[in-house]
């Protein structure tokens, strides 16, 4: 993508997020039970949606890397970029959820099924990111990380269905519930849908930039390797003389 197009895309993301803020903080009404605290959900829901999307992209890219016919270094880089963005958004989900929990439930944290499985998801992908930094050949590291990504993704459906399988504190799905009947209407529903869309576009932008950075890091690694080889050859020549 050209620099100009990237700037326009960045500007679109800024506008989309600004509109989200206006609707979430001013135009949407307070909830009948939760009051103004409901405004945190316009941040909490889109961030976990984007995190799930990020982890799904990581899994897909990892699977494509594992299949010999489709193996390309770009899939590995995309998997890493998407996982990192997903981890950032999962962290924000956990923090914003805790802040919402304090006035609503009376506690910042409880070992509820949804909260616990989401925290596990966060640490699973932190582990995945740590694995990407281990010293190994590109092939070995790619294989290890791709397999780890496939295993880690198993927690995503567990997080999603945790509120159905275990009846604990976290409420069940408001939009994606068993009856598929949304419990929200009007400007509140619009704000939620808009914010999910805006954060999805934001995710795409962040992954594009992170991918750009990953490619530069690859270039730097190759250059450092070339310099190290050249230096070694120079030393060997000096020793032989």
């Amino acid at each position: 993508m050209s620099t100009l197009r990237r700037y326009w895309f960045g500007a679109t993301v800024v506008v989309a997020l600004a509109v989200t803020a206006v609707f979430a903080l001013w135009l949407s009404p307070p909830d009948a039970q939760q009051g103004d605290v409901v405004r945190l959900l316009y941040l909490h829901v889109p961030t976990i949606w984007v995190a799930f999307l990020g982890f799904f992209v990581t899994t897909l890219a990892s699977a494509l890397w594992l299949v010999p016919r489709t193996r390309r270094v770009e899939w590995d880089l995309l998997a890493g970029a998407s996982a990192e963005v997903g981890v950032v958004f999962t962290g924000i989900t956990l923090i914003v959820g805790s802040i919402w929990g304090r006035p609503t439930w009376g506690v910042y944290w409880v070992w509820d099924a949804r909260l616990t499985t989401t925290a596990i998801l966060f640490f699973l992908y932190l582990g995945y990111l740590a694995l990407r930094r281990t010293a190994a050949t590109a092939d070995e590291r790619g294989k290890r990380c791709a397999i780890a990504a496939l295993i880690a993704f198993a927690d995503v459906p567990i997080v999603h269905f945790s509120v159905t399988w275990w009846q604990t504190l976290h409420q069940s799905g408001t939009v994606f519930n068993s009856s598929l009947v949304s419990g929200i209407h009007g400007s509140m529903a619009f704000t939620l849908i808009w914010s999910v869309g805006a954060f999805t576009v934001f995710y795409v932008y962040l992954v594009m930039r992170r991918l750009q950075l990953a490619e530069l890091e690859e270039g730097l690694e190759e250059r450092e390797l070339e310099l190290a080889i050249a230096e070694r050859q120079r030393v060997e020549e000096m020793v032989s003389v």
Partner: protein, 43 residues
């Protein structure tokens, strides 16, 4: 609900700071690596 806006402000504030920090780190590193690798440093 008392102090509702305090919680809302804390939530949005922390999210904004976290995302801004992440993006700043990413953009600065892109710029630095572009310079190191001899490419253009336009952003």
């Amino acid at each position: 609900m008392p102090h509702a806006w305090d919680y809302v402000g804390a939530g949005y504030g922390i999210a904004t700071v976290a995302l801004s920090t992440y993006m700043t780190w990413m953009f600065l590193r892109i710029r630095r690596l572009r310079r190191v690798l001899g490419g253009d440093a336009d952003d």
